[in-house]
């Protein structure tokens, strides 16, 4: 796998994660600190299907998609919605997603321990790279991850711009109170956004082991890149998430690679420093990100914006 191909694969996955983070931020107003762990859940879903049913990770993508979506809906319906109904502060909701992240880490860690005992493997890390094959002269993962991105973007576009539900969805993203007056069920759009966020995260997570080793705590490491991608793109825009994901993914891989050629392989550990510096630069230069659009602003939930 060449460096550029690796960077492209990573960027593809980061775009999926950033779109998921952004879409729930738009509809619910809370940055989801559990997005990284939601991806790792997808990785373990694929690992389990591989171990128990000998199913190739590419074929387990639909299962990951559905289970991830169910997880997203579960987090929203069981944790966030009850708090939103009590008019919780946005900070309270952020702490709640941190707690969800910790619960997911606990479950993943426990599951990973149990799985390695069951399969009698000593190590808890895993990677899918040996399972990959050549397709049209390149690694299949590059084509698969690009295909997933294309399908996602195309379906999002068709959904948002060509269907009645999409129009309602966009209306309730831009002005939930007004959309509700016009008879749009804002609750449905929130549930849908959490489903989509969870499913995209899980799909990205299923493909991530083709590029890096996965442990239960991987979520804590990739969350930095996800946030960087979303913020560089502008937290409130799906288009921004697309641009930001590619920008951060490419810079993280290519800048680190370039520096490692100059300064030695030790630099490779600092790929997240690149993301962090870009995040900080974006905050200083243009806090609204590349998309530059702030959809709304509020610090406290009001009854009118929740159903």
């Amino acid at each position: 796998m060449s460096v550029l191909e690796g960077a492209l694969i990573y960027s593809n996955l980061l775009v999926l994660l950033a779109i998921g983070l952004t879409i729930t931020y738009i509809t619910t107003g809370v940055p989801n600190f559990a997005q990284g762990s939601m991806a790792v859940v997808g990785a373990y879903v694929s690992l389990s299907l591989l171990v128990f049913f000998n199913m190739h990770p590419y074929y387990s993508l639909p299962v990951s998609f559905l289970l991830g979506g169910a997880l997203g809906v579960g987090i929203y319906a069981l944790v966030l919605r009850p708090m939103i109904r009590r008019e919780a502060m946005v900070v309270t909701l952020m702490i709640a997603t941190l707690a969800v992240d910790l619960i997911l880490l606990g479950i993943l860690g426990a599951y990973s321990d149990a799985l390695s005992q069951l399969t009698r493997r000593g190590t808890k890390k895993f990677i899918f790279t040996p399972l990959d094959f050549k397709l049209a002269g390149t690694d299949a993962i590059l084509l698969v991850s690009s295909g997933v991105i294309l399908v996602t973007l195309l379906s999002l576009f068709l959904l948002l711009y060509k269907t009645r539900f999409g129009i309602a969805l966009r209306a309730s993203m831009e002005n939930p109170a007004l959309a509700e007056i016009m008879g749009v069920n804002v609750e449905h759009t929130r549930l849908f956004s959490w489903f989509l966020s969870g499913s995209l995260a899980a799909v990205a997570g299923s493909l991530l082991p083709f590029r890096q080793e996965i442990v239960p705590a991987t979520g804590a490491i990739i969350i930095v890149s996800i946030f960087a991608a979303s913020i560089v793109g502008g937290l409130g825009s799906i288009y921004g998430a697309l641009v930001g994901g590619f920008f951060i993914g490419m810079s993280e891989s290519l800048i680190t690679f370039y520096l490692s050629k100059q300064l030695g392989a030790g630099v490779l550990l600092y790929s997240k420093v690149v993301s962090l510096l870009l995040l900080i630069a974006a905050l200083i230069l243009s806090p609204r990100g590349i998309a530059g659009l702030r959809i709304w602003r509020h610090n406290r939930w009001r009854r009118s914006t929740s159903s």
Partner: protein, 350 residues
């Protein structure tokens, strides 16, 4: 003996976590700054001991070698010297705490700078991201503080006989926590404390009264980080080594938030109660983890169970008891202010 050990363990962790939770109370409980990067300040405190004071002592004594080996030699030279001369140990202790507080304040002020003007969600994301990345750097770069290998630190209480060491460190921790408690209590009942509460409730009002939110946030996080760094330094001196991988987000950001919210933010006594309840549960879970694993037939480490339990506990607190065990008390008004308010009330009636 076992029970005595358990009690000391609870008290030691109570003192360490009380300092961290109080620092978070200043920042989040009073000023409303969601510092999701609390772990960074604690790590900086440990860095002050293992990375700065160690290097100062190493160069003073002219010890050769990389930081990991030199720290080992430093320990073997200094521990006998401290055993002979208690003042040397206490001097190093004070030096460590001083450097930690200073370095904590500087880091705190710097790390909030990029997001100091921004809204709470951006603030929280940025602080978490900086803290996570610094943790990775400290963990992987073994030339800073030894990374995951760790560096040894001189035993500042080497003059205390071995069987009294744990007791002495616990007492020292309790004294340190008490000093911090009184300091924070004093700070927050001052006009500055009221200003922080005003900022938490409504930033626009504070701005309208001519206060700069940016400066106020920087100052507050600097103070909070200085306090949290004390805990990191003390913990490192107690464990006589600094291992970067122990300064994980769960232990030093999430758990302090949990203790703060459990006890009741904005109320220092509540925070102390929250820390005590949390630490009792946490120490018992840690001490009996093998028994728990055996009794419940868990096919995994009990730590994971602990994470799930504390995550669920956090959600329950946020949903059912967002004010915590002890609610924030209303402001105590000085007699002139109270009479002025009463006067106003009377005028309103007539």
């Amino acid at each position: 003996m076992a029970q005595e050990y358990l009690l000391l363990d609870i008290l030691l962790w109570f003192s360490i976590y009380l300092i961290v939770a109080l620092s978070l109370n200043v920042e989040y409980g009073y000023a409303g700054i969601p510092n999701f990067g609390r772990a960074l300040a604690v790590l900086v405190g440990a860095f002050a001991v293992g990375g700065v004071v160690n290097r100062i002592l190493i160069s003073l004594l002219g010890i050769e070698g990389g930081i990991i080996e030199a720290s080992g030699s430093l320990k073997s030279v200094l521990n006998p010297a401290i055993a002979q001369n208690p003042l040397l140990g206490l001097g190093i202790l004070l030096l460590c705490l001083g450097v930690a507080a200073l370095l904590g304040a500087v880091t705190g002020a710097l790390f909030i700078l990029p997001s100091a003007k921004l809204r709470h969600d951006y603030l929280a994301i940025t602080l978490l991201a900086i803290s996570e990345v610094m943790f990775l750097v400290a963990n992987y770069n073994t030339s800073l503080i030894g990374g995951y290998y760790g560096v040894s630190v001189p035993d500042v209480l080497a003059f205390v006989p071995g069987e009294r060491r744990f007791l002495s460190f616990t007492l020292l921790g309790l004294v340190l926590a008490l000093v911090v408690f009184l300091l924070v209590e004093r700070l927050l009942t001052s006009p500055y404390g009221r200003l922080l509460k005003a900022m938490r409730e409504n930033e626009d009002v504070v701005r309208a009264f001519g206060r700069d939110i940016l400066v106020l946030r920087i100052k507050t996080v600097a103070i909070g980080s200085a306090i949290a760094a004390l805990a990191g330094a003390f913990y490192s001196l107690y464990s006589v080594n600094v291992i970067a991988s122990t300064f994980f987000r769960v232990d030093w950001t999430f758990f302090p938030f949990l203790m703060l919210l459990l006890g009741g933010m904005g109320n220092n006594r509540g925070v102390a109660l929250g820390v005590l309840s949390f630490v009792v549960v946490k120490v018992l879970l840690t001490v009996y983890k093998y028994e728990i694993k055996a009794v419940l037939h868990l096919p995994f480490e009990a730590t994971w169970l602990e994470y799930m339990l504390f995550g669920v506990l956090m959600l329950l607190i946020l949903y059912y008891k967002p004010d915590g065990l002890l609610r924030e008390r209303p402001l105590t008004l000085t007699p002139p202010v109270r009479s002025a308010l009463e006067q106003r009330g009377k005028e309103g009636e007539t």
